[in-house]
Symmetry: C2
DNA sequence: CCTGATTTGTTGTAAATACAACAGAATTGT
DNA sequence: ACAATTCTGTTGTATTTACAACAAATCAGG
């Protein structure tokens, strides 16, 4: 079993799950959660489709790719996980605990696994932070849910134009202002909205020319016209 | 305060949250969760963007529409809720508890609200089913998460063809067979994949003609060709 | 069995999008 | 300051998709 370092703890302290807990508190929790720290070398698959999985993973170092293969064997990237990210909680919470994606380390990586069953049952040592942890886990899942719903909302729109307006409208709302800065560059935005970058770029300019919005780099402004 | 009827309990018993609990157990829980049953008349908005919301809703009767308005005031349907469905858990679990969508009763409806804070803190009466409820809530959120992720996976594909193959490939996997029946008709599938029905129908036939799959009504078969 | 309603497939056309290739702007590292 | 690299916008073309309108098939009820 690998030792959990002070550095690891610092990473955990930045995760939703252990936010604002002290090192001592976290170490107590890890004990209680039957934490296992594992290492995966570059380009090795650490979790496979069909694996039994009752634990959630937290990336400590490195980068993981979550992928899925279709009927014909074509692989698609679903998510990329970097230090601090949680993965597998959906499958760990599913009734049969069967993992339905592949997880591959694309660099040498360290991952911490926490046994979810231990989180759910009140632990015998009745550690003080148990409730906090449950609350944090629920919050993390709610937050993921929120992000997924938002993405679906944008991506479901039929045209590139409507996808852009849906996304920008939401960013404006977040900023509570018609002026706002988006955190994605053009390529990232195109990937997020599942459209072609150059076509999207052209559409943005059309929206600008029609006086619906204006932008300079990543700063946008929406005009209240109708 | 409206009375919770035996009929209401029967609906609750079919929800993920209270699955397999007895009437007595549920009534004890409801007390502990500060449950409020409310009535909404047809076409009234019962929750608004910006409302404070620390409770999750369960539909007992009627139909609700969850919608969102964009910057310019255009409204989009996000989800439809029918008896047994849970809603609002994402916002109830968010840090600031601010509701970001609108909920409208489109028929006369009855809704049960459960105060989420009560779920999270171990209740003073230490009711036996508290842990079960937390576990069920986590499972419900995981399950929603799973569905959202799946949808994103399909819908992110650039062409109608790839969306179809992604969806059908997954259904085949669920059925553990190259033969399977899908639970959606053509219009529903088109809506789910965010494409035009007739274009999708045409694409399905093209896939059939190319020998990639075959179908009869909602029964499909995928061919293992390359 | 018949009728009307619903679902599914078909086709042509207009519109939107992807794709490819490139030019200019901005950024980074030296 | 310069070169190399990345990012963004532009344009033309081929492809894909939406849309509309309709035909065929299927379904539901009387």
């Amino acid at each position: 079993m690998n030792q959990i370092t002070k550095n690891d703890i610092e990473i955990l302290q930045k995760t939703t799950l252990f936010l604002n807990m002290s090192e001592a508190e976290i170490r107590e929790m890890l004990d209680c959660l039957n934490a296992r720290k594992t290492t995966s070398l570059k380009n090795t698959m650490l979790l496979h489709y069909g694996d039994f999985c009752d634990s959630i993973g937290i990336v400590l170092h490195g980068t993981l790719h979550i992928t899925r293969e279709d009927f014909w064997g074509n692989s698609t990237l679903i998510a990329q996980c970097v230090p601090g990210d949680i993965f597998g909680e959906t499958y760990a919470m599913s009734p049969n605990h069967i993992f339905e994606v592949n997880v591959t380390a694309i660099t040498d990586s360290e991952i911490l696994f926490l046994q979810l069953g231990k989180i759910l049952s009140v632990c015998s040592t009745a550690c003080t932070f148990h409730n906090r942890l449950i609350q944090n886990l629920l919050q993390a899942m709610a937050s993921r849910n929120y992000l997924l719903s938002k993405k679906i909302e944008h991506i479901t729109k039929r045209s590139t134009r409507d996808k852009l307006l849906s996304y920008l409208s939401n960013e404006s709302r977040l900023a509570k202002s018609a002026d706002f800065t988006i955190p994605l560059n053009r390529q990232q935005l195109a990937d997020y909205l599942a459209v072609d970058r150059s076509a999207m770029s052209a559409e943005l300019c059309r929206l600008r020319d029609e006086g619906i919005l204006s932008f300079h780099k990543n700063e946008f402004h929406l005009y209240d016209v109708y």
